[in-house]
């Protein structure tokens, strides 16, 4: 037997290959064990809530849970026809409503269906325990429901109930895109009610404006920081880092103080004589206020990645270009600028994604025409309590952000994002 066929063995007599594989496996398991607690923590405290939100944006179990017999009986009814459902449906409705009113769940169903068609909330509220108790069960039930409210025998009511009897609905997403489902298909809502598409577009336009402003103001700053001697650059860097570390609320209140009609900037302009006292500029509670305040708040997020990329660009390239006869502008535009593009990409995506989901600053300085989609989400969470719609709006926003990341990853590579 030659030595070449004999397996190489480790100190404990096992073949070396197996021994190495075991060591590697142990190493992998140890690494995973170290990561596992945090992974579990993030999944539970963050990913599950996000997933839950996605489910909620299509969840419609409330109709089927509250009036199950009616939903079942409605299966035989033709919603495209022009006769309201028959007596069997009203018997089922009576049985369901007795249970629902007893558990006080009928008003919740009413408010849910009210999002689809106004008037449903009051219809269900009127159909209370007291009214149902007075029903004469020997008589036909449909006319007695009609006595409570004649909406009970209209086609529209039953179409809404039938079209929402599935446990899953696209209704919230349709509403979030200013559409609604009708028996004849999906139609846009009337112009007066259409706000969400406009709001999404406004969010995009303002975010793009803010990103562009941050780029215009951030590029010269990053350039001068990267090209000054390191002692003075470090001093100036503090001017960028201090706003970065200062509370968002502090900066927003500062802008509120500066931009008001009786605020510092207007006072200064009046005192200098540029403005008449009765002609003060309205710079707050509108889109201008949002753009100014948010540009200031997000500017460090543009400067820091730009600066870290520009620091790595050697000044010799510029000198070489000039010595070969390029003018200052050509040298900058053809040689320096292309090398700074990864920094622009990183800064722009960071600023844009932060801007698109901003809530606090638009709420405080945005007035009515400077608010974002996020303000509408909060409104639905806290005031209108239309949580499904809030979840649908947030889901759309999330999809937009993820799409942006995907595009960005394709163009620049997500690994190229540098944070300071």
């Amino acid at each position: 037997m030659t030595t070449s066929t004999e397996p190489v063995v480790a100190a404990d007599g096992l073949p070396l290959k197996r021994s190495l594989a075991r060591a590697l496996r142990r190493q992998k398991i140890r690494a995973l064990l170290l990561i596992a607690p945090l992974l579990l923590f993030i999944v539970l405290t963050f990913l599950v809530p996000i997933g839950n939100m996605l489910l909620r944006s299509v969840d419609n179990a409330i109709v089927e849970e509250t009036i199950p017999r009616t939903v079942e009986a409605l299966r035989g009814w033709d919603e495209a026809g022009d006769v309201p459902p028959g007596e069997d449906v009203f018997e089922a409705l009576y049985a369901d409503m007795l249970i629902a009113t007893d558990a006080k769940r009928h008003t919740r169903l009413g408010s849910r269906l009210n999002y689809e068609s106004s008037g449903m909330s009051s219809l269900f509220r009127k159909t209370n325990e007291r009214r149902l108790g007075r029903f004469e069960l020997e008589q036909p039930l449909a006319p007695q429901f009609e006595d409570i409210d004649e909406d009970w025998i209209t086609l529209e009511t039953w179409r809404v109930i039938k079209s929402n009897s599935d446990p899953v609905t696209a209704g919230y997403f349709l509403a979030a895109m200013d559409l609604r489902a009708t028996p004849t298909g999906i139609e846009p809502v009337s112009d007066l009610q259409a706000i969400y598409v406009k709001l999404f577009v406004r969010t995009m336009i303002l975010s793009v404006t803010i990103t562009a402003m941050c780029f215009l103001l951030g590029y010269p700053i990053a350039w001068i920081l990267a090209n000054l001697p390191s002692r003075s650059a470090n001093m100036l860097l503090i001017l960028v880092l201090l706003p970065f570390w200062t509370s968002l609320l502090v900066r927003t209140s500062a802008w509120k103080v500066l931009l008001q009609q009786q605020g510092v900037i207007n006072d200064l302009l009046v005192w200098v004589g540029v403005l008449a006292d009765d002609n003060r500029l309205a710079m707050i509670n509108n889109a201008t206020g949002t753009v100014i305040a948010m540009t200031h708040i997000l500017l460090p997020f543009m400067i820091l990645p730009l600066y870290s990329v520009m620091k790595t660009i050697s000044p010799t390239y510029l000198r070489a270009a000039k010595s070969l006869g390029a003018t200052d502008w050509t040298a900058f535009w053809r040689v320096y600028f292309p090398q700074s593009v990864p920094g622009i990409g990183a800064g722009a995506i960071l600023v844009f994604i932060l801007a698109i989901g901003y809530y606090i600053t638009p709420e405080l300085v945005g007035g009515t025409d400077g608010t974002f989609i996020s303000n509408r989400i909060y409104y639905h969470i806290s005031s209108s309590l239309n949580w499904g719609l809030a979840a649908a709006l947030a889901t759309i926003l999330l999809a937009m952000v993820l799409a942006l990341y995907w595009v960005y990853d394709r163009l620049v590579g997500i690994d190229n994002v540098k944070l300071g």
Binding site: Q27, K28, R30, A31, L32, I35, P37, L38, L39, F41, I42, V43, F46, L47, V48, P49, N52, M53, I221, I224, S230, R231, L239, L242, P243, W245, T246, S247, L248, L249, V250, R251, S253, A254, K256, V257, L258, Q260, Q262, G263, D267, H296, L299, D328, I353, L354, G357, Y359, I360, L364, S374, I377, Y378, I381, A391, A394, L397, L398, V401, L419
Partner: protein
């Protein structure tokens, strides 16, 4: 960078005007923060400089807004809440985050890309979306803890916010600690194991002191994330958990009072302290790794 002696007139003009432009942008960055500091000493309830202040008349200045802050029970409660929530959230984020960062920096980690993406997702997803998701889930979780386990409602309220803030702070810990670990010499832990130290002893005696600057600055990032955070608190908190930024937010939206400027000035002072600490730590760790001469 300095202007060469052979520069043309156009180049000279551009050189100086570029510096003026940069100066203006720096002013734009810093003036809004500086302006509120003198305004917080205003003797009047105005948000602008009074004629007395412009004349530097001592009568125009006072500490009354600071007194308001210190005597108002709402602000004091908010201050207490902020200093309960942020440190606990930071400790959770730092302890889990450091362990995971050490795990991630091992040479063979299966699915490293996916795991990393999951761990930093709280930083990537816009806050309003995180807050909406957390609003639905945490209210269910809170109801469960209160009804099934009989926990105190107030206590559950704090737990909800602390968990949410810890999740938001974790990406910063992961990023800073993994960055520090890149420069960590693994032969040191091997040498320590060779001399008979167990993994735990090696970690606390060898690895921890060396990566401490990264851990601390990650912790400061996590702290400021929680300390500044408003959206999630508004979504999932109740009146008892009002934090300092939340109180400022309500103040700015409803009855705008100059006390806010006094609070803002205090917060600016806190951020200057934090910034200085992080900068000193960063420079120290760069010096240790021989990346920068100064």
């Amino acid at each position: 960078m300095s202007l060469p002696s052979y520069a043309s007139t156009g180049q000279t003009v551009w050189y100086y005007s570029f510096r003026v432009i940069c100066g203006l942008i720096f002013a734009f960055l810093i003036i809004p923060i500086l302006v509120i500091i003198p305004l917080s000493f205003n003797a009047q309830d105005f948000f602008t400089f009074t004629p007395e202040m412009l004349r530097l008349d001592p009568a125009g200045f006072s500490l009354k807004h600071y007194q308001d802050f210190l005597s108002d029970s709402g602000w004091q409660q908010a201050l207490r809440n902020s200093f309960i929530i942020a440190p606990i959230a930071t400790v959770i984020a730092v302890s889990f985050g450091t362990l995971a960062a050490i795990g991630l920096s091992q040479s063979h980690v299966p699915f490293r890309g996916t795991i990393m993406a999951i761990l930093i997702s709280p930083m990537i997803v816009p806050l309003i979306i995180s807050a909406t998701g957390m609003f639905f889930f945490y209210s269910k979780m809170g109801n469960f803890l209160e009804d099934q386990l009989g926990w105190d409602q107030n206590f559950v309220g704090y737990i909800k916010i602390i968990l949410a803030h810890a999740a938001l702070g974790i990406p910063f810990v992961i990023i800073t600690v993994t960055a520090t670990l890149v420069g960590f010499d693994k032969s040191l832990t091997r040498a320590s194991a060779n001399m008979g130290a167990g993994p735990v002893r090696t970690f606390f005696k060898i690895q921890m002191p060396l990566i401490l600057p990264g851990v601390i600055s990650g912790g400061l990032f996590a702290f400021i994330t929680s300390f500044d955070e408003v959206v999630v608190v508004i979504f999932i908190g109740s009146a008892n958990q009002q934090t300092l930024p939340w109180q400022m937010f309500t103040g700015l939206r409803e009855q705008i009072s100059p006390t806010i400027l006094a609070v803002a000035t205090i917060l600016v002072a806190i951020s200057i302290v934090l910034l200085t600490t992080v900068e000193l730590l960063r420079r120290r760790s760069e010096r240790l790794r021989g990346m920068s001469p100064g």
